[in-house]
Structures are given as C-alpha cells and as structure tokens.
C-alpha cells in the first residue's frame, strides 16, 4: 500500500514516496523543485509534474500517465501509488472574519479552532466591540474575507444576541459581488443551525459545525476545524495558480501542511511520554507545536517567515531583535535592504557571510516570537526537537542545522535532535487519520534525519573554564572522558541509532543540566553525534559585537568541524546610521506622466464614472 504525498510550500514543492519494505512502511523516495506560482508559469500543477518526474528519476517508478494525470491506485507494474495526498502551506493565507458574542469566550474558542490552518484573521466582530450596525457592515465589506466564522451562544441558550450579529452579516454579505462571497461556517448555538442556513439562503454557502462552546465549561473545536478544511479547499479552488485543479486531484483535496506538525508532535509525545517540540520557520509562515503526553499547544503565524514574509517578520520583531544576533555592526538600512530583497526574491540563499548572519538573525528572531507565543520560556527544555523547513535544513551540514535548532529556541537540558529535510511531517499529518500504522512505522524506521543528542548547560558560564565533565560509557568500548570549557561546544562521534550512557557533572557555580549538577542519561547518536553544549543559557546575553564575532564563528566551527571563519576587524567598528530622507522637498509640479494637469485627469475620471455601474456590478 504505497503513499505518494506532495507538499506545496511557498518556495519548494516536495514529493515523498512511502511504501512497504518487508511489510514495514518506509520513506523510499524524495524529490524537490521550486513551486511554480511565479513567472512564467503561475500554475502549481506544472511544479507537480516536475517533481513527479524527478521522483521517477530517483525511484524508477512512474507516477503520471501520458496525459499527465497522477496514477492511483498503484498498478501491477508498480506505477502510481495507492494513496495520493496533497498538502499546501504556500500562497496567501485564508482571510477569516470572526463573529462571536464575547472576546474571552466564544471568540477565543474560534481563534483556537482557526489556529491550526493558514488563516489570517482580518476582522473580528462581537457584542462588546463598541461598533454600531453601520460600522460593522463596513467592517465586513472592507475586510474581503474568504471565510466568515460565526460562533456564540451555548447550546439551547439565549439566541437573541447571535441573531443580532447574524442580521448584520446577512445584509453585509448580500452586498458582496456574488463571485466573491465567502463561505460561512457556523459553530455557535446548535439550536440556531437551521435558522442560520435559512437566513443565508441565496446569500452565501453555509457549513454548520458543532458548537465550539456547547456549554460554558466545554470547548470543542474538532468539528469546526473539519469545516475549516472544507473552506480551505473552496478557497484553494478559487485562488488560481492551479490550486483548483490540485484540489480535484485527491478525494481529500488540499490539506494544510501545518496540521502535520501538531499531529506528529502530539503522536510522539503520547507514544513515548516525552515533551516534543516541532518547529518550522518557512518562507511565508512559521509553525511551532509543543506537545507532552497530555496535550499539544501550537502556534501558526502566517505573518512570520524568512522569505515572502521577511518584511512582515521584521515589522513584528523590530530591527534590534535581528541585530542582537549579528557578529558585526549593521546599519538599520543594511538590515532593511536585506529583508526587502528577501521578500522580493524569497528563494535566494545567503551567499556571503554578512547575508548568512542576517538570514540566521531573522530565523532566530522568528523562532523567538513563536516560542513566546506558545509560552516557552527563555531556555525551554524538551526531550525531542524536530526542525522543519529549508532555513534549518538547507545548510549542507547537519552540525550547522543542529546549532541553528538549539539556538533558535535556546533549548536547554538533554534533547534529541531531528531534522526534516524531506517535509515528512506534512505528509504524515495528511495520512495520520487514514493510515496511522504508516505514520508509526515511518517514524520508527528513521524517516527523520537523526542529528543526535545535545547536552545543554543552563546558567551563566565562566568563559574558557571547565564547565561540563562527561564520561561516555559504550558497550564493548572503554569509557571516555570529556571536559568542555564554558562558551564552547564539543561533539562526540556516536552513529545513527547507537546508544551510550553519559555520566554528566556540571562544574562551576550557578550551572545545571535539567536542574541537576550531576546526572546519568542514555543518549542516542546521529549524524552529528553527541553535542556537549557548554555555552550556558540564555545565549549571547548582553554581549558586544566583538564578543559575538568571536563566539558565533567559534560555535559554527566547533559543531561543524569546518575551519573557523574570521569576522574582519572593520566590520566591528561602529557605523553611522545614514540620514533618512529629509522633510524639506522642492515643490512638485502636480502634473501627470502624460503631461495632463490634475484638473484634466479629475474630469476624465468623472466622465468614466458615468459608465453604468450595473455593468460593473453584474459583470
């Protein structure tokens, strides 16, 4: 029973082939190409064809028939796949308008329901918003939503407040151009479900979900999320760039990639009773899922990314949040120019040292925001950290990826590190409901790249003084002892899947690992091995540029084994901020490019406005 999963990201389109080998599901093929929503193609299905051809090249199996259609189920000649799933994180997020009674109750539940898909909440209406009927109507009409999410009232409770809001919604949506009317999801007082359908008849399509707040003590967002997936598909069909064709290719349509992070982090946490963090900082969106055996918390930010949304990220975090990660002086203009160029050309990668640190400064700043939004502290602990997205994975060196992962959230304690260079998380999330055994087996069979285990010291370390003493006990081998000085990283080679016992002693005052000065742990190796991180936490706290220039290049060298790069001395000199454009400007000649005066243009516009508006309205 083979599974073909294709994920359409903002920059990359990835295809994965999962199949049974000796009765066990494994990842057997992978291919990646650029997402083709830009010039000259502007159709993501072209990228689908490309990536499947690449997958054919690597796997030797055919996935499309001569007319380009995906072959499913798998044929006797092994062409095609039994299950074909499509996920997407690319493109503009769904614009959602939320309507509810109270911000702290029904609206809060609505936002939780919306939080596991690519949604941008563009407007919120509720009884306490202080707006009158006309203001609410204008708010709806100028928000241009793709979906209207209506919640409010407990099951069987009072209906009058909900009906008041429904009134403004029906009138507002009746004024929207028919071709652009949003899908309405109703997840409020169940007693009003049929009434809501009737009120919106002929105005908008209504999907009725179970109440997100059936009573004051219960929150139930599962049904609403299913409806949101349907709305996501409706939107995919409308938004062009080939997503309409894509949505028709599979029975489940296009599913949000983000769901995989929540599903997989939750699954791993429950299965092994561990704390799992999954982090993906993408070009246009960022996802963080934090799961333990009991529950999963997560955050999806459609305004934070290091490519398409680099500008938006900078607007959120501010320039200084990026500059604090730079080992050189940078003017405000340099940071802003880099960010503006990344937004214009999201797929480019840093090709010199300054760009590299700017890129990673953005990555760390984005991760910091994500961490704070899920309540992670300054030095959170986790048993497992999974790193997704090209920003972490396209370093070309597993050690570098591990370093970025550790630094992004400032992880402390003992943590196993995995990276997801293939986009496996999105694929597994898409098949989790129907093929749970495939998820379990692929993860058990090493679907993720195993980087190794990191031992991270918390507290303020004394530079270059012994900080961590570790004895490594491995079966059949003599014990080995390592001492790592403060402010340094050391790696110990321990292969993928190999296990060893570590006796750890923390040296120096005010320091610990997992809150202890001495502990024994079992560690699992990986591509990097065991990482002894004696840098202390928080990282780079109150450091000067010169200190960062030394430390940051040293850490890269220590974890990758590459030669240490040198930051040129002139990069450390304080730089003057260039002056912003002045206020005094010569008086401009108010003429248009065609040489017409402003009055002429205004009169032309007035003439044009005489055109029948019916024509414009009715198309």
């Amino acid at each position: 029973m083979s599974i073909l999963a294709v994920d359409f990201g903002s920059v990359h389109t990835r295809a994965l082939l999962i199949d049974q080998v000796n009765g066990v599901y494994q990842l057997v093929g992978f291919a990646r190409t650029r997402t083709t929503d830009d010039f000259p193609v502007q159709n993501v299905t072209v990228g689908l064809g490309r990536v499947l051809n690449l997958l054919t090249d690597t796997s030797g199996r055919k996935f499309t028939n001569p007319d380009g259609r995906v072959i499913s189920p798998e044929q006797p000649d092994r062409s095609g796949a039994d299950t074909f799933v499509v996920t997407a994180s690319g493109g503009r997020p769904l614009r959602a308008l939320v309507v509810g009674l109270m911000p702290s109750i029904s609206i809060a539940s609505a936002l939780k329901a919306l939080s596991n898909t690519y949604v941008s909440v563009v407007e919120t209406l509720h009884l306490a918003d202080g707006r009158d009927f006309e203001s609410r109507l204008n708010a709806v009409l100028h928000a241009f939503p793709d979906v209207v999410f209506i919640v409010g009232g407990t099951d069987g409770g009072a209906s009058a407040p909900v009906l008041e809001l429904l009134h403004v919604m029906t009138l507002s949506l009746s004024l929207v151009d028919r071709r652009r009317r949003p899908t309405v999801i109703y997840a409020g007082n169940a007693a009003l479900g049929q009434d809501v359908i009737t009120r919106f008849e002929g105005v908008a399509e209504v999907l009725v979900a179970e109440n997100v707040r059936p009573d004051m003590r219960t929150e139930s967002v599962g049904s609403a999320r299913s409806m949101l997936t349907r709305a996501f598909n409706r939107y995919a069909e409308r938004r062009g760039y080939g997503f309409a064709e894509l949505a028709l290719l599979t029975p489940s349509g296009v599913m949000p990639s983000a769901r995989g992070y929540v599903t997989i982090a939750g699954y791993l946490a429950q299965a092994k009773r561990e704390r799992v963090i999954a982090l993906d900082v993408g070009s246009g969106a960022s996802i963080l899922a934090v799961a333990n055996a009991k529950d999963t918390d997560f955050s999806i930010r459609t305004d934070l990314g290091v490519g398409h949304n680099a500008q938006s990220l900078l607007d959120v975090v501010g320039i200084d949040e990026v500059r604090r990660w730079l080992p050189f002086e940078a003017t405000r203009s340099e940071v802003r120019n880099y960010v503006a160029n990344k937004t214009l050309r999201p797929s480019i990668i840093p090709s010199n040292l300054r760009e590299l640190y700017l890129e990673h400064g953005l990555l760390r700043a984005a991760a910091g925001v994500m961490g704070r939004s899920t309540g992670l502290g300054g030095a959170p602990e986790a048993d497992v950290l999974i790193l997704g997205g090209a920003a972490f994975n396209d370093t070309g060196n597993a050690g570098y990826t591990a370093l970025l992962g550790l630094d992004a959230l400032g992880i402390a304690g003992v943590v196993r590190l995995y990276s997801d260079p293939y986009g496996l998380t999105a694929a597994l999330g898409a098949v989790a409901a129907s093929r749970a055994e495939a998820v379990v087996q692929v993860l058990d069979e090493g679907g993720y790249a195993e980087l190794g285990t990191a031992i991270c010291v918390s507290g303020r370390v004394r530079p270059d003084k012994p900080t961590l003493r570790v004895v490594l006990e491995q079966q059949g081998q003599p014990n080995r002892e390592f001492v790592v000085n403060g402010g340094h990283i050391r790696t110990i080679s321990l292969g993928i899947g190999e296990r060893a016992k570590l006796k750890i002693r923390v040296l120096g005052g005010g320091l610990d690992v997992k809150g202890r000065r001495s502990l024994k742990v079992e560690v699992i190796g990986g591509v990097v091995g065991v990482i002894l991180d004696a840098r202390g936490r928080p990282l780079l706290h109150h450091t000067t540029v010169a200190q960062r220039a030394e430390l940051m290049t040293r850490w890269v060298s220590e974890i990758t084994g590459d030669e240490k790069l040198t930051i040129p001395a002139e990069w450390l000199k304080t730089v003057d901020e260039p002056k912003l454009p002045g206020e005094a400007r010569p008086k401009r000649v108010r003429r248009t490019s065609r040489g017409n005066s402003r009055q002429q243009v205004e009169s032309e516009k007035a003439e044009v406005a005489d055109v029948s508006l019916d024509d414009l309205r009715n198309g």
Binding site: F144, S174, L344, S593, R594, V611, D615, R617
Partner: protein, 359 residues
Amino acid sequence: MSVFYPEQRPAHKLAVIQRSVTLPEEASGIVTVVSDQHVDVRDIVARGLIPGKFVVVDVKAFFKLKSADDVDELLLVSVDDEVDELKPLAGQSNGRGRRLFSPITGRVASTSDGFVVVEQLNAVIDLEAGLRGTVTEVYAGHGTTIEATGTQIQGVWGNGGRAIAVVANEGQNPFESAAIDVMGSRFSNCVVVLRRPITEQVLHAAAAQNVAGVVAPSMSVDLTELAHEQLYPVMLIEGFGEMRLNRAVAQVFQDLEGIQITLDAARPQVWDARRPEAVMNVQPKKGDVPNRPSPHLTLRGGMAVRVVGGDYSGQLGSVVNLPNELVLLDNGLRVPCALVELSGDQRIYAPLTNLEVIG
C-alpha cells in the same frame, strides 16, 4: 546534478510577451475584451470599482413604522439607483411631505429589513492594455492576459505607478543636474533610465523635471516611502541596495532611446505573481525569432545568467558547469551551485537559487 529550473526575469529586445493585466484584488469589475480579440496600447481591457463607504439609513425608525414591511410603500428608490443629498430615499412623494434624504452621493446598494444602504462611489479603475497584442486569456471580473511581440524588461520592485512615454537614458551627466528651461528639461515627460542607484535628490529632481517615470537598478529601502509618494512610476531592476545597472539591461534601454514604452511599475504584493516591467511592441524582422518564456527551461552550461544577492549581485555571467556535489561557500554553507564566469573572466560559484535567466 538533478534538473534545476531557474528563476526567469527577462530583459529581452525581442520576446513573446505574455502580459497579465488585472484589477486590484479588492476591486469588483468587468473585463471588456474577449479571447482572441486584438487590442491596442491604450484600449481599456477591464474596469473595476473598489467598494466605497456604506451608509445605512434606518427608514423604519425615521418614519416610526412598526414593521419593516411597511417601509416598501414609502421607498422612492430602487437598488442600483444613483442618489445624492437632494434625492429623497423615502416618503409619501418625491416632491413634498415628510421625506428622508440620502446623506451622501452614491448608489443604492440595498433596500431591505427597513433600511436603505447607500454606497459612496469610488472612481472607476480603468486598465489599459499597455501593449498592442492579442487577448489570450480572460479572468472573469478580474483581468486578462495579452500576448504580443516586443521588448520586455522585468524589474523587481515598483511604486505602483504606470506611464506610457518615450525613453531617455541618463547619459554621462547626472540626471538631477539637468537644466530646466522654460520648455522643461530633456527628460520632461520621458521615462528616465539611470545606471546607478536612486538617491533622494534623484526623486526630487524627477518630480521637478516632470518626468514620466524613472527606471533604476536599485535604491536604499529608506527611500521607499518617498518613492511611493511620487506621482510618476519608479521601477527597480535589481533590488534594494547599491547595485548598478548591468550592461545587458542598459543596452536594451539604450536601444530604446526616444522610443515610446509602457512602464508598469507594479508594486509587488507578497502573494501576487505580477511583476513590474517595461514593455514595447516590436515587429520582428524577417528571420527574427522572438524569445518565448519557457515553463520547462532548465539551467544548462553556456546559459546567460544574472547573479542575485551577495557580493556579485546584479552582475551578468554565463554558466560554465553545474557540479554534482554541494559546494562549500565562503560563508560556511554547502549548497548546490553553478560555476559562473563573470565579465573579466572571473569565475565564481553561485548558488543555483541565486541565478536568474534573463535572455
């Protein structure tokens, strides 16, 4: 190395241009052309309206009526009627008695539930074809694609302006020092092409000299707001920073000196594929084969490329070879690269993702 599909950003003297002309996303509109229709540069291909402010007039409350159904008898307007402050919306008669007047000039959007909703009208947006060509695709209510043969130079950023005017290359002397006599400078009503980054002085001088538009390789991001304020279009070819115009693009503009072009300095939106560009119609001479953008173009040895980002941003070169292995860059990353020969025989490894095919 597996197949790599590079970014394409044409700077072509003779190309098949597929120009997408679309209304802003928030506009409702109509497309005024049909597939296969021939259009001229200034033909209107779509018209649209962005929703204005909606004013809700409570007729039921004004006349103290018990039921919203009673309002119908008093209505003096219908949906889509145009009204102004002197036009009664409801009352016993148009000419006398107690009447309820429209608070604004606009269009009646709705007459239901005891309310009259009047929409203030915004100016109609007219979209010109910008090229002489044939309509190849129509997106209902949204816009169209026009195919033509001609010169096409795509940029990366624009301030949202559009102009149709002749090209004037800056030449040896700085454009901002050009004298303005009574007839204006030689750049008046022209699209000025600079070979160096835009400065604040350039933007002010361009306004003072009444230029039709400015094309430049780059500018500091700090000037973005000022560029947005200008009434003329501004297009950047390379990006933000201090990049200069590369010789291939400079040559194409040099060949266009004194010729009318359409400069569409589309403002990039995060999730919109539309790019700013300068285009003009050119009839191919006998034997000329216009370059057609290919969805299946793969990067190959010998291909002319532009390097973007890093120390060589904006420079042109040709691909020497494509190594199978990842290449260790000076910054410590290992990424798939191409060996590119720049002018002056300098050879560099450039990440594949940082190469754009322009020719």
